[in-house]
Symmetry: D3
Subunit: 192 residues, 6 copies
């Protein structure tokens, strides 16, 4: 095992004081809420315009009212991130999933094999679709939407599933490229 | 072949008049510049917040000053979109690539097999890396960056390649999911 | 972008005068008809016996009377060649497809993602089968033929689809191996 | 989420009293040591002869003196089981890995993407090889062993890595086939 | 072609006299029965404890009374070993399959493409399932068992199919890793 | 196992008397030489023009003087056909390979895993390249030819390897599509 404090990202992390005001404000807010700064904020702060667009996109998909539950959204993120082998997203969103679902087991189950997780048939269909968007989007068609409607999903929820899978597919690639390191705090959150 | 005017997207397209002011303004601006409205704007207008974040992200990566040339950025988009079998992105960005590169052949070459395209060894290395981010981001590491630096790319350009590949990976999935149709205008642009 | 006139093939191209009479005659005939000599003729002329067998096979499959339309045969060629990433075949047969189908958009659509192309359900089934022959011929079985019969294809047409897919699978491999370069003329043909 | 106590295995689990004496003894011993009975013992008890052979094989590979450390053996198990999407093995051996390595983070890191885990270059080489045995054993050759020797591994340790990867490849398939459920106790073990 | 007598295994093969008594006895017994010592015994004798566990597991699955016929068990071994490209297992178990099935053609048919072999629909379903366990065990579910029950397989036979596929998946990896060489005797056995 | 004499091909086989004279003559000649009619001749006779082109192509590649030995050509056919899971080609050309190489073991070795076969490093390089043409022709480039030249292959031999791999890739697809059955005679040929 290595000794030195491992870097957060392959790229430089700007000091809080050196960040544009809006970015610093957003980061201080999440720090206040979580008790620590999730490393994705620090990695992206190296690129302020991308930081802003990324966060706006994230919020549009993950903080939207109605439709999929917060836990279901995180379930999609964890399943997609496991398929893409994104360590940061699996660990960080695994923590959020445990909290949102009030279930200490669910994240590790979805990470290892979502087909064996303690989820409903409706959630299983949701994740099957998210994985198809992830791995074979070129073959997604109306039959996929029909199957989801058969489980009670509306067209807007279907868009949400696809868009969350697509957005985190991007996020997974960025995190793998920058070797983004999950904060130690995430590993134990929501486990009891 | 089918007869009816084919739909732009599986989802409803809002009327220009019904769109939020900022979105309508952006669309009218692109229409003025291009002579038509690229369908991706209309598809995304169904979701105003996602429209705004998508366009902000797009502009941060594609309209950035310095570093990769505009043609090189489009080359990445076309190579990645071909790998992801995204019809809209291949056709629309193929048109833009022809124009940016002032080369009527380049887009079809990159689409079919970028390894055989009329590109420099440096551009070949750029596209090899963009494809690795697309297909195997979990294995991207420092050796990939070293190889790119050997071709004269700086760390910021390397980030740009990875980020463009990741962003259009998202875009490709959304376009395939919504069955986004390329405007007829794109096919012939920049061919003479 | 490179400056020197790029080579047609990794292998030497014999002079017209040095070719066997029958091969020169065939080449002059296609030149008269098309206005230029498609490079595949020059590449293969390096191997006269293979040239003859290749052209005889090609004609038996592509110039056969009855059954699939000429446009449908080219559609198969383009879809298979795109899957095999064969630049020559995608560009050259894309041109022929546009002309045969009198449709300037169809080739680029089929190249990028045939599932989103302006084709009939019958043609979609035809291409799905051609792709299965291309990628998973070991699993082709009677159920595939039954599905095609359900779309009105006869057994002889089904053979044609499979044989065209198989023949161009060979052609794609030869063209990729020799780095066969598409003639510039193909790119713009049939686009207006 | 589902309500009923979920089954341990798709197959019947014999009562402790109904098991052959040697199997019951082994199970009581592990229960005494761990405080609970890992479900793999109960699943396999349905087939006493396979139970005995499995445990003998397991002990020969995992409890062997010398060579790879206990933590390294578990690291191999977790990396291979993640690649094979085996929920039981990832969760159960993830717990054992945390304990053996006295590291609460290591199991989740290896599960998500072992290339980004806090491991030494020697351990990275070990896991690269274990994954090659898992996914492409037909191409393993002397060059793989030479690379491992370059990291200080002896021929017997190289056998151990391969044999552990192969054995847990079997174990992963059995667990996925029987839908073997990880005990709830494993999830939190070794996390603080 | 090479001249020297090729090695049986990348690892040393102990002399019969130097082996533990039980292992020597087992080997002498198989030699008496077959007329030669199958090389897998010699390769594994390098590791006595693994030898014992391997043989115990093998016998529990392959010599079990009732259920699948001996020929069917070998059919599974050959199909799985061909998928895993294990030369030793394909050649050695191909020989045994020919003998058990009293069919000189069956082993080569199953090796090349089991879907085209002279087998019953029930056996085809059995091999389809064995291959799914081999290649995609993470997606095996109750529907697979239901399909097999529809062909008359009982739950215990279904376990046997899965366990044989899993065990020989391990065996294939060990044989590929050690470059285990098939005895010359196997190639011609059962061919007339 | 099935009882009825199994069909040679999914398509009708014309009677010898009903075949065009040149095709009947070719078939009678091979029958005289081999003692039986290989089924591929009967299957293809259903399509006389394709029969002629196929045989002309086959002869141009396989009966050519100089360069690769006859045994090496068949080795390529067997390795490629095994990768494509073509039962007819593996069994029929396996027989021819045994005879050409005067080696009763070589065909089964190459079929199962050519990397473990009794071949020279030069032949190993030849088969690695044939497999790359088979599976990833889009990435074949000058470096592949350079590697082969390093093993003493000339440019014309390299063309032969690629062309044989490409031609039998076509042949494999046709045989799998028509369910072409190997003659029983092939299985035992050249085994003693």
């Amino acid at each position: 095992m290595t000794d030195a404090a491992p870097p957060i990202s392959r790229y430089p992390v700007p000091a809080l004081e050196a960040m544009p005001e809006d970015i610093r404000a957003r980061i201080l807010k999440v720090q206040e809420k979580s008790g620590f700064i999730p490393n994705v904020f620090l990695m992206l702060a190296y690129r302020p315009d991308e930081f802003r667009a990324f966060m706006a996109y994230h919020d549009a998909l993950m903080d939207k009212e109605g439709g999929l539950s917060k836990a279901e959204r995180e379930m999609i993120v964890v399943a997609v991130s496991a398929a893409n082998q994104c360590q940061y997203c699996v660990v960080a969103h695994g923590a959020i999933l445990r909290i949102r679902a009030r279930n200490p087991l669910i994240a590790d189950q979805v990470t290892a094999n979502y087909r064996k997780a303690d989820i409903t048939p409706r959630q299983r269909a949701m994740l099957d679709f998210a994985l198809k968007v992830t791995r074979q989007a070129e073959a997604v068609d109306e039959a996929d939407s029909a199957a989801l409607r058969g489980h009670g999903f509306g067209e807007d929820e279907i868009w949400d599933i696809a868009a969350i899978a697509a957005f985190f597919g991007m996020s997974n690639r960025l995190a793998n490229f920058t070797s983004l390191r999950p904060n130690d705090e995430f590993y134990g959150m929501g486990r009891s």
